[in-house]
């Protein structure tokens, strides 16, 4: 089975600087693989092992994110056989449709595939729409919140989808686009051997996207939430005195 896993390279949200005026400074924020795409990579690795298939990782983004050898090796150490990139500096990929159009365009240049896997959402924007919109643009079945994937014979997958109150089992005709839930697996930590091999795996840069329609959303404001004042009364110690202080605090505040 030929599997393509879409990975987004995002700024590490734990290292974004919030300036005194509550605006964000991302100039020194390092890049990382979007948290939830690690689940998609792991699903791809497992499905490829089960079906004796292959995994291609696909990422679309700007040069500052995708030119990094470290990031490329990181993606390739997680089960992908090769990496395809669309490096594009002229789009911001800040809306779900623009990103989906970019991915749909790139997928058309990837050759035949059986399944495209996406994470449940990106850890920067977390719109959770990329997989659904990419599938819809390509006219392929697409489904979100997939919690199990089982091969079900030629050209079919049996897919478990967990909703708020129920669990569905679906028969998906391939090719299809699946967004996997973060509960589908626990991404394995790459072994040293995989990290060593990653540097030797092929990386192909696909044609750039040309003209997309451009973003259809206008950003008016982006600010850190106002800091709620917290008292930060912190005591060091776990002896009786410290616990007594905590008990008194709880009794006074809320019990």
């Amino acid at each position: 089975m030929k599997i393509i896993v879409c990975c987004k390279i995002v700024p590490n949200e734990e290292e974004i600087r919030v300036l005194p005026d509550r605006s964000l400074d991302l100039s020194a924020t390092p890049w990382k693989i979007s948290q939830y795409d690690l689940n998609a990579l792991e699903s791809g690795r497992q499905l490829a092992a089960e079906t004796k298939g292959s995994v291609t990782a696909l990422s679309v983004g700007g040069p500052s994110a995708l030119d990094s050898t470290k990031i490329r090796k990181d993606v390739l150490s997680r089960g992908a056989d090769d990496l395809k990139l669309v490096i594009d500096d002229s789009h911001s990929f800040s809306d779900s449709l623009e990103t989906a159009k970019a991915l749909a365009g790139a997928l058309k240049n990837c050759g035949a595939f059986d399944v495209v896997l996406c994470g449940m959402g990106s850890s920067d924007l977390y719109l959770q729409e990329t997989g659904i919109q990419t599938g819809a643009l390509l006219g392929l079945p697409s489904i979100n919140n997939v919690t199990a994937i089982r091969p079900a014979g030629e050209g079919l997958l049996e897919v478990e989808r967990t909703l708020e109150e129920e669990v569905e089992t679906l028969e998906v005709t391939l090719p299809a686009v699946l967004s996997v839930s973060s509960e589908i697996n626990v991404p394995s930590v790459p072994a040293m051997r995989e990290i060593m091999r990653a540097g030797k795996k092929p990386v192909a840069v696909l044609d750039d996207l040309g003209a997309l329609d451009g973003a259809s959303l206008e950003m008016l404001e982006q600010l850190a939430p106002e800091q709620q004042e917290r008292r930060q009364e912190v005591i060091e110690g776990d002896g009786d005195e410290a616990v007594e202080a905590l008990a008194q605090f709880l009794k006074k505040e809320c019990l």
């Binding site: 964000l24 509960e183 912190v234 905590l246």
Partner: protein, 308 residues
């Protein structure tokens, strides 16, 4: 108020009234789209919408199959805003409708307001590090709206404009079976007190200790993402964070929670945050009202004794 139509789409009748009340405060015309037969539509007649269209989903079918029929109805308007319930199905349907209307989707929107003749949506980005306000630059906008975004409105007259949605379902994925979810869910959103378990807990059986403390405090037990997703010690509905449940109790007592931005984003509306963590440098201590730097395995049993 905008002179246009807002479509409200919900697979959850409880969410419908809140969304319609919100839509009614934004625009002159509100059309609700519900899933079920005429009886479903009639039981929703006082949801606040001016008109209700129902999609008679069959036992084998799914609301998502109505994406193209809904998009066709929306397209009859020159300009419209489509608001959906922020559920998993809602987001799936929203994405498909968005493609058919050639527009992106904003999800988990926490507020919608009319500003300068346009509808502005607010949502969290970067795991709760910032709030972003955006508006659609195209005639159609699609957004899924989080619970609590709107105040429930005054009681509105019952509509009699009820009809089946034009168009047929299409593109369904075959469902082999469906089953009710087994995991017991807790309603953390409504909880007044919460014990919040983090990765500092060493073993699953130690949850008993956390539950004992919760019992003494009259609290529910929730957790951070890795406890639910990596360890699977608690159901996913128990994890709090920007990508999980967002809570607002009177008091939340965190045990071994480090305090990542993503998690804090889910608990920072709590009136009082108490932290117990052995790592003095844990960021949770910057976001707490009261904290103890120490071993939770010493503190919690002693605290239970004192409070019992």
């Amino acid at each position: 108020m905008l002179n246009q139509t807002v479509f409200v789409i919900s697979d959850d009748t409880a969410a419908l009234s809140e969304l319609c009340a919100g839509a009614k405060s934004l625009a002159t015309r509100v059309t609700a789209i519900v899933f079920g037969g005429q009886d479903t539509a009639e039981s929703a007649a006082s949801c606040g919408a001016d008109a209700i269209r129902y999609c008679p989903v069959s036992e084998e079918g799914a609301p998502e199959d109505y994406a193209s029929a809904i998009a066709a109805v929306v397209k009859k308007e020159n300009q419209a805003f489509v608001m959906l319930h922020n559920s998993i199905r809602g987001r799936c349907l929203a994405g498909r409708i968005g493609v058919l209307l050639d527009t992106p989707v904003l999800t988990s929107v926490s507020a919608v307001a009319e500003e300068g003749g346009a509808l502005v949506c607010r949502r969290m980005v970067y795991g709760g590090t910032a709030q972003r306000s955006e508006r659609f630059a195209k005639p159609y906008g699609v957004a899924t709206i989080s619970g609590g975004a709107f105040e429930p409105g005054p009681a509105l007259p019952t509509t009699t404009d009820i009809a089946q949605l034009e168009g047929a379902p299409e593109g369904g994925i075959r469902r082999i079976s469906r089953a009710e979810k087994k995991e017991g869910g807790v309603n953390l959103v409504a909880a007044k007190r919460i014990v919040d378990v983090g990765r500092g807990l060493a073993a699953e059986e130690d949850l008993a200790l956390c539950r004992e403390l919760a019992g003494v405090l009259g609290a529910e037990v929730g957790c951070s993402r890795p406890v639910a997703e990596n360890n699977k010690w608690l159901p996913k509905s128990s994890y709090m964070g920007i990508t999980g449940v967002q809570v607002k109790p009177d008091v939340i007592l965190t045990l071994g929670v480090s305090g990542q931005v993503q998690h804090i984003g889910g608990i920072n509306k709590s009136r009082v945050i108490v932290a117990i963590n052995k790592d003095k440098a844990a960021p949770i201590f910057k976001s707490c009202d009261f904290g103890l730097v120490g071993d939770l395995y010493k503190i919690v049993p002693a605290l239970i004794k004192k409070l019992s």
